[in-house]
Structure formats: C-alpha cells, structure tokens
Symmetry: C2
Subunit: 321 residues, 2 copies
Amino acid sequence: MKALQLTEKNQTPVLSEVPAPKAEKSQKVVQIKAAALNHRDVWIVKGMYPGIKFPAILGSDGAGLVDGREVVIQPGINWGIDQRFQQKDYHILGLPENGTFAESVGVNEDQLFDKPSHLSFEEAAALPLAGLTAFRVLFSRCQVQSGEKVLITGIGGGVALFCLQFALAIGAEVYVTSGRPDKIERAITLGAKNGVIYKEADWSEKLEKIAGGFDVIIDSAGGEGFAKLVKLCNPGARIGIYGGSNGVISGVSPQLIFWRQISILGSTMGSDQDFEQMLAFVNRHKIIPIVDTVFPIEEGALAFERMARGEQFGKIVLKVS
Amino acid sequence: MKALQLTEKNQTPVLSEVPAPKAEKSQKVVQIKAAALNHRDVWIVKGMYPGIKFPAILGSDGAGLVDGREVVIQPGINWGIDQRFQQKDYHILGLPENGTFAESVGVNEDQLFDKPSHLSFEEAAALPLAGLTAFRVLFSRCQVQSGEKVLITGIGGGVALFCLQFALAIGAEVYVTSGRPDKIERAITLGAKNGVIYKEADWSEKLEKIAGGFDVIIDSAGGEGFAKLVKLCNPGARIGIYGGSNGVISGVSPQLIFWRQISILGSTMGSDQDFEQMLAFVNRHKIIPIVDTVFPIEEGALAFERMARGEQFGKIVLKVS
C-alpha cells in the first residue's frame, strides 16, 4: 500500500510503498479515505517526541471504511476508566503504532465509531483529535454554559476552532485572539463577536474595553500573556490550558486567583467518554469541521510545510483514496 | 460596654468604654463570651484594607449567648446564592460593621448558629472564619477524598491547621511545610505523616523523596515556591490557593498543568452553605480547634503582637466575659 513514511528525523515524510497492515486480535483494518494533520505530527518530524523509531507512519486522525461501514477513528489508546486523567500508557494513534497517513491502518475495534452522516470523509477526518481536545477542555473541564462570555486565544488552529464552534453551538458569546487580522475576520464570519491581535502591546486592555471580563478562557500559549488572561477573568471564571507554546507562566497574582475564585484547569486529549460525548455533540449540533486545505496524499510534503508555517485556518486534510 | 477600639492607623486597638449596640431589624445582639483574631485584623490595623473609618471595633470570630442560647457567629455577610463565587457586596463581620472584640455585637439572625456542644466558648470562637475558609478550599473546591495524599504549606496558621484536621478526619494522608521545625513536630503530633522546612533550598526534593507526589495541595503563599508545588502534583491533582503572602507566581510549566490534568483552584472565605456544612462536619467528627493562647480582652494588645510576630500555632483567642 501507499503510505507517507518518515524515514529519518527532520525529513518530511515521503510517499512509499509499504506492506499493508494485518488485523491483530481485537483489531480491524480501516481503509483510509481521508486523514488529517495535527501539530503533533510536525513536532514528531522535528524530533521533539521521545521514543520514535524509523521508519514510521504518522497520523492520528482518519476516516474510512471497514467492511463497508463508514467510520471515524478515535485516536486515544488506553486512557483508562478514571475520567480525571489518563493512565501512564495512554498514547495516541500514529506513534508508536503506525498511523493514518496510509491507505490502511490497523486499529482496535473499540476505536471505531460511525462517521457522522452529515460529514464528508475529509470533514470527518478533521474531527477526532482536535475535536476531542476541544470538547474535554471546554465542557468536561471548564463546563462552559450558554450565555457565558468565552475567550479563545490563538484562533485558527484546529482545537481553537472547534472550541469556537462548540461554544457558539451552545449559545456562548465568544471572543478570540490571533496574530493575524484575517484570522480574526474569519472567526467573526463564523460567529465570534470580536477579537484582538495579541501582537499589539495593549491587546488585553482593548479586549477588556470591547468585551468586559470573561467566564471561560481557553488558552494554549501560556507565557507572559497568561497573567493578563487572569486579569480578564470574571468572578468564578475557568481558564482551560491545553498547550503552552509560549513557555512558562509568570507574573500571576495569587490574590486575583483566590479573591475571584478562579479555576485554572489543565486538559489534554480526552477520555473515551469525552470522545463519545463529542461525537454525539457534533451529530446533535451538525457541526462541520473547518477544513483549511485538502491535499492528495501524494502531496503530503506540501501539507506538512503549510502546517509548519502556521498559515492554516482549520484542519489540513490528506485525501488518501 | 468594653471594646477593643481601633482609633487610628498603625495603633494597636485599646480597651475603651463604648455604647452597647442595639439590635436593628432582623438583628440580634450577641453577648460575646470569646472572640478570635485573624490575619485580617492585623492587616486592617496596618492600614492594608480600604474603607476603614475610625473609631472601629474589629473582630470577625465570636461565640456567645443570645437569650440564653449558646451561639457561634457566621462572619460572612451577603455571599449570595451562587456557590461558585461571592457577590460584590460580600464582606466579613468586623469592617465596616463593628465586630466581635467587644462585650456585645449586633448581627443578623441568620448569622447565628448553635455552638457545637463539644466545644468551649474559646474553642468555638476559634472556628468560624478559618474553619469556613479551610472547609471551602479543601472540600468545596479541591474535593479531597479519603486516602489521598495532601500537602499543606505553612502549617501553624488557623486555616492551615483546620485543613490538617479536616483532611485527617476523612482519612487523607497529610504532609506539611513550615518555616520552623517545632511547628512540623506539632503537626506530626496532631497526625501529619511528615513535613519539611520550606526555608531549606531542597525542600521540594526532600518532600518528593519522603512522600512522592500529591493529589491535593493547599497553599497560601504563592511566590517562587509555587512552581515547585506544581512539580509535586500527581496526575489529576488539585492545588487550592487561599492566600498569596509571597506574591506573584512565576516559572510555572503549562506542560505540567495540561499533561497531568492539574486544577489550580482559587478560594476565599466561603458561602452560607459552606459554613453550614463546615459546622456539621465539625460536629460529626468532633473536631476541636487548636487554640494557641487565650488572652483576656484587657490584654488584647498582647494578642495582636503575638499574631503580628507569626509565632502562633493555632488560633489566638480573646476571653471577653
């Protein structure tokens, strides 16, 4: 079969002919119709994940066919039964197991879910990991409610966009930040109330002026800006953290945290229950994932380059078959 | 009546003869038998609270008699009905209303609760504000469970000691930090498993060696040490923050927070429901507050000085009548 194979560190995966996977016990082989990239895949290519062996087939997100059934794959493996946190051996499809950037992949039967019928294979492939991460941080952790004021930082990435769509779907009032004005414009087109450019020195003052305080803030940056997020919190606010691209958090006032009864809630990926609830939510609200671009798998290198440049607004999808 | 009156900033309150309070509508006048100091009282004396008028009678904690009924006073006023956070006009008895450092005080009827029958007036007076704060941060916010490993920083203060007693009462395994070895020894006598001196550079490494990781950490310091508390967290851990004596929090890894699904939970004082549940808990588990010293109200100045020096282990109580 064809697969995008990673043969050494810092090299873009190349399309190769490799043996097709065989189903091990309690496994099924999925014929992949479409797959999607995550930041994780780019970081693995850059050698930022431990334990990688070459050659490897990456890819956590995929949708396709099993015995004629249209399926989407749940990428999380071994979360365990505790809803609060993952077990030690929890990991994501696509490392160390071979992933979805291939014509077929072997996965456990309990990782297979019916593809939402309102979605194409490309749209369904865009859903799993980012949708799961967004659902857990927004609902399971921050318990966002209808009518609440929500801020989502760094709009344009897959998780941030699902947070926007999910929060809008339940009737929250959503604001965004981005490094680029065109991404804010697109978020407003999708239903966001407004947004600010976080590269401007007074972004938080501007945000306070246009929006007041926030009940829920979803952040994946951390860094110096985090202390300003805390200042933007209403009493009882929750800040969900699912990433830390700007590094360590500093300058945070404990007085604000305790006096305003703020909750700062770390969240990563999600449990099997989170995944099932996310899928049900997507079906109920007819959420359509934002797809930035669809590349044929033969042009996988271009997909990786676009992801690395951070230009995308929505998910970057590979059409496989 | 006699009262400890604060007549100007930075002066220790002095025993004075003042008019006795009259009950306004929906109020009762409590004949105070014993009162207790909080850090709050010392900070008000130092002029660190806004809106103080002179002369003022301080004091948030009190126990006494109303028409022969033995009562303890709930010091919180106007929390509101939302359990997540206090309303804007929430405040604590003892500023701006006259407080408990007097022979009598007027309070709303719904602030009166039966004194736990297993407690003396001095012990009951030691309970309200610190017990309420401890109960909310430990149970309502951090939801500590039997068998969990708990770390309480700065043992010796009123809230920290109630956290120790409450956590032990439900069967948690509790460790402590302090600036002084004698306070750690006393905490161990009360049931703590072990403790470390936070002034030693390697306190967190020592703690990790003797205790491993923690499921719940209760902190009122913040500052530089906070990042080390985050490193001591088990997956799914909760850190409750009810103070910030060491100032801003810096150097915290967002990666630890999201990967370990950590919750950092601000908490201050507590709701009416928290107070009722705290009293019920104290009655059920026959908790006896740790009283450091009892001064007659005539020696109130000595009580304030002891509090300001931070030497106490437990609550400093005034015997009023």
